[in-house]
């Protein structure tokens, strides 16, 4: 079992706590004038995405997590699993619903996603910062309406509902920021 000492802590290091893999987001060495040193960390549970604070006694060891990031192309779903392919080896991997979570809204065939693999199994799927998706349903566009800030809802083919400007048409393709879920621009097709 590989372990890391707190001296080796830095952002991006992957560790295991209570059986779950975590990513160290922030690490700060703290020491009172006289007394013990500690490492104050912010760590992110890679399965749930939740970030927690944890304080370690300096010098402690913690189990290392066999976690890697890979870029893979989304292929299709059978309703139970979502299949991704490594475009250099053509190896395919199924990811479960928990791993996809909110990424389901930004899923598009042939698009490249970042998969976090723990012991070879996808535990999280991260979409690219921007995706282009087609609208499935929205009110007809109002030409020439460029009023600042006025929006209407639009539902994308993936099921995501976002706010769009009034001039957007029902069959437009939109560029969307997946980090905020916000409309960026209309894509000429």
């Amino acid at each position: 079992m590989a372990t890391y000492n707190t001296n080796m802590f830095r952002s991006g290091l992957k560790i295991i706590i209570d059986g779950d893999p975590f990513n160290i987001v922030e690490n700060e060495f703290v020491k009172p004038g006289k007394g013990q040193a500690f490492n104050r960390t912010k760590i992110k549970n890679l399965k749930t995405g939740r970030v927690i604070d944890k304080t370690w006694k300096s010098g402690e060891s913690v189990e290392a997590a066999d976690v890697i990031d890979v870029a893979m192309e989304y292929l299709y779903t059978d309703g139970e699993f979502w299949y991704f392919m490594d475009s250099s080896t053509y190896e395919q991997l199924p990811a479960g619903e928990t791993a996809l979570a909110d990424c389901l809204y930004w899923l598009k065939e042939q698009e490249s996603y970042q998969l976090i693999l723990w012991n070879g199994t996808p535990i999280s799927v991260i979409p690219p910062n921007f995706v282009e998706l087609q609208i499935a349903q929205c009110d007809p566009g109002i030409r020439g309406d460029t009023a600042q800030g006025a929006t209407k809802p639009a539902t994308m083919t993936t099921g995501a509902t976002i706010k769009v400007p009034l001039f957007i048409e029902a069959n437009d393709t939109l560029r969307i920021d997946t980090r905020t879920g916000e409309y960026v621009s209309r894509v000429k097709t």
Partner: protein, 321 residues
Amino acid sequence: MSEWKPSCTQDVLHDRARMNYTIRAFFSQRQVLEVETPALSQTANTDPYIESFHCKGIDDTGKAQRYLHTSPEYPMKRLLAAGCGDIYQLAKVWRANEVGRQHNPEFTLLEWYRLDFTYHQLMQEVETLLCDLMPEVKRRETQKLSYQQAFMNRLGINPHIATREVLYACVQSENIHISTDLDRSALLDILMTHCVEASFPKQALSFIYDYPANQSALAYVREDNPPVAERFEVYLGSLELGNGYQELQNVDKNTAVLHTEQAYRKKQGIASVPQDKKFLAAMQDGLPFCSGVALGIDRILMAALHKKSIREVLSFAWDIA
């Protein structure tokens, strides 16, 4: 190509030089003598939470092992016992494994000793110097709190009598997740570093004094109920800048502190280091009544220049040294 450039700007080089000049002028004015003591000694600091770097001499017999000092405390006290009067030193010191935003394993300490000063008088002198070095500090807002008051204000608990269970419950109620079982002393350290320090006013100095007796190091312990160590720490905001003592004079008590530290090292499986017998012999001959303090110059520069990381005030930070 290898990264060769300094970690600080040209301006900071000038700021540091100016700060050293101000410090020397400050002590010269007060007739405090500048001294130098060896950086590489045959003995080491026994404090179990401070690790010395060690190195071997050219003959490499193993006996020639020497230790880089972690502060010039022992030899400066030998000078005091020899009758040198008030002294100060600007010294490079080394502490292994202390790397972080506020820590560089090699750093500069300003340590000084004042004969016939109580630690409260020394706190005033520290305040005067720090306000000279950091003109933006609001002197009128300086706060002085006992360790107990500081805990009472922020957490509503008395650190001298709270049981381990009470401290543990307090850590939990502050939403601090700790990775392992900790003893009373470590829980106090957690609460101090995570909660109490964070409550200090941002632009003013905070002096915290009268620490639990088991955190005395070589400070005089006053036999109150409970006994407290006449020690202080000074902060700007939550950044710790220094640590001072009413110096412990009694030779038996000095010896006991070093033995206790050595025993704790053994119990915790930390490598033991040779005790400074010459320091204890000097205490036997007599340390005059005095107070002493050590300030971290790099931290003071960070605070004065609003730098977030210690590397921004070092010519070459640890990773590129």
